[in-house]
Amino acid sequence: MNKRQFVKQRKPAWKRFEKLVNRSATSKLRPKEAAQFSTLLRELSNDLAIVRSRDWGQHLEGFLNHLVGRGHNRFYRAPPGNLANAIRFATVDYPRLFRKHIWYFYTAAALFFVPLIISWTVVQLNPQLASRVLPNEALEQYDKMYEHDADEFTSANFGDKSMFMSGFYVYNNAGIALRAFAVGILMGGMTVYVLLSNGISIGATAGYMVAMGHGRTFSSFVISHGSFELTAIAIAGGAGLMLGNAIVHPGQRTRKEALRVQGLDAVKIAFGAAVMLFIAAGIEAFWSPAPIPAIFKYIVGATLWVVVYLYLFVAGRGE
């Protein structure tokens, strides 16, 4: 068989396949068509191999290669995600994955919480040091914000302002966390910096508040969303450290391969942190400043801390 006969004979099959590929992009194939798609994909793969082995020209090869490539991409799709998978990921797979890489979390948490506690203590004992870390305008603003009593923490248009703040918190905090994760690829150095600097400035803020006598107002405000927010920052930082460590310590793999393997786990972990920060933004905007007696906030806040850590450390065990 020569090339012309081959083309003439196979052309109807190619045309048919092209039509099926085009149709599959816009609509679902009927069962019969799907079966034909599968047969034709194999036939065309065969045709491509023949054209290659007989050296029948770049042009024909390119055409078949393109067609088979498109078919291949349609045929071997990733299994579509569904709600059941998403729920399973949230309730079982995510906490398991988190615990699988728990030491990255511990490291990031140490890098974040230790400076936080130190700067808190130092600033509380010596409030004027706060201006070394935080800009003065910020400090003035904090003074104004927390002047009132813990039990009547509100302003006239509470609901509307909360909506603004929730959007702002998502934009700001989730953005910081995702960036802390992404820069992990630069061998983790920037991630460490983000963790340290955030830890120090948050600690300084807390110390300053307490030293200025707003301690009760401040703690009743932060306790609820702090559970999600502070934990999520440490989680995202840990995911960033995973990327960095894949470059620094690739182990038995090549660096590229190590990055790929670690990267897939790391991005899932970081994604979870971003979701937690969404939740935190909602709490921070709508619950934390709500005009409710401080005692309730302590109770709810403490419960949230327990819930977050139960989720991370217990969910998905023993299945």
Binding site: N2, G69, I185, L264
Partner: protein, 291 residues
């Protein structure tokens, strides 16, 4: 990154901007990788779209802002966050590796093992975009230039590549072959050109119209003179020299005809199934062994 170049053939393949993958059907597929320039183009389109969406929404929110300043502002921050982080993830993750800009320029993101992009792959490569863009896409560009598969850092970690999917149409028959006279047999020696050479001539003739007449002759000249020598061409010596395209076309037809004749001979001992198929109803299934 530095793979050892073992044979000259392998090195030629590595230089080409192709991604080669082996399918489950045991066929090597090649995808054309997309370079920085066209990807920048796609990015600019996406950038424009995101900017327009933000402008439209902010005009809308300015109106609602009179009534509910807080909610409008919060929504604005959310939209901004989504456009900054979510646009590419959603587009590539749920629309088979294509953003609007990529679709417009015929690009697609796929896994570098040939699988379609997964949601997590899309998320990973686009979160790391934050690093690739740091100053003016510098790190991303450097990474693309330094890697064989033109991957920015996000691509490297996620194991993805951007490919170009230009539409390719079935090549037509080169020219009206019947009108071309084959070269007389007595003017040719016994050498038979390789099939690859003939295919090359065919590809050339198919696309001859995109070249000017002079350019076409100029490009055909080296091959024509070499072939004339190998074939010990006895005819008009001016033909391969002055009209190399015509010479190649006639040469092609000559061997095409011979090919046909040989094939006819073969049909005699091969069963008649083939004849039947030609006339019969369109078949559903056919494999190599059938012919």
């Amino acid at each position: 990154m530095s793979q050892s170049i073992s044979t000259s053939k392998a090195s030629a393949e590595e230089i080409g901007l192709d991604l080669r993958i082996e399918t489950p059907e045991n066929v090597i597929l090649t995808y054309q990788l997309a370079g920085p320039a066209i990807r920048l183009g796609a990015y600019m389109i996406d950038f424009g779209i995101r900017a327009v969406v933000i402008v439209i929404i902010s005009i809308f929110l300015l109106c609602t802002g009179m009534v509910m300043p807080g909610a409008s502002g919060g929504l604005y921050a959310l939209v901004w966050f989504f456009m900054e982080w979510g646009y590419f993830i959603v587009a590539e993750g749920f629309f088979r590796g294509k953003t609007i800009g990529k679709h417009a320029l015929g690009l697609r993101v796929i896994d570098d093992r040939g699988h379609p992009l997964t949601f997590w792959g899309a998320t990973l490569r686009n979160l790391l975009r934050a690093v690739d863009v740091l100053p003016l896409y510098g790190p991303g560009f450097i990474s693309m230039v330094l890697t064989q598969r033109l991957q920015r850092m996000g691509d490297l970690v996620a194991g993805t590549v951007v490919i170009s999917e230009r539409r390719v149409v079935l090549p037509r028959e080169p020219i009206i072959l019947e009108k071309i006279e084959p070269l007389p047999r007595q003017e040719l020696g016994s050498y038979v050109p390789e099939r690859g050479t003939l295919s090359l001539i065919e590809d050339f003739l198919t696309r001859r119209h995109i070249l000017s007449h002079e350019r076409g002759h100029a490009m055909a000249a080296p091959l024509a003179s070499v072939l004339a020598k190998r074939l010990r061409f006895q005819g008009d010596p001016d033909l391969p020299l002055k009209f190399p395209m015509a010479f190649l076309a006639r040469l092609y037809v000559t061997f095409l005809k011979r090919d046909d004749e040989e094939d006819e001979d073969q049909i005699d001992w091969k069963p008649k199934r083939k004849r039947q198929r030609k006339s019969g109803r369109p078949r559903q299934r056919q494999t190599v062994s059938d012919w």
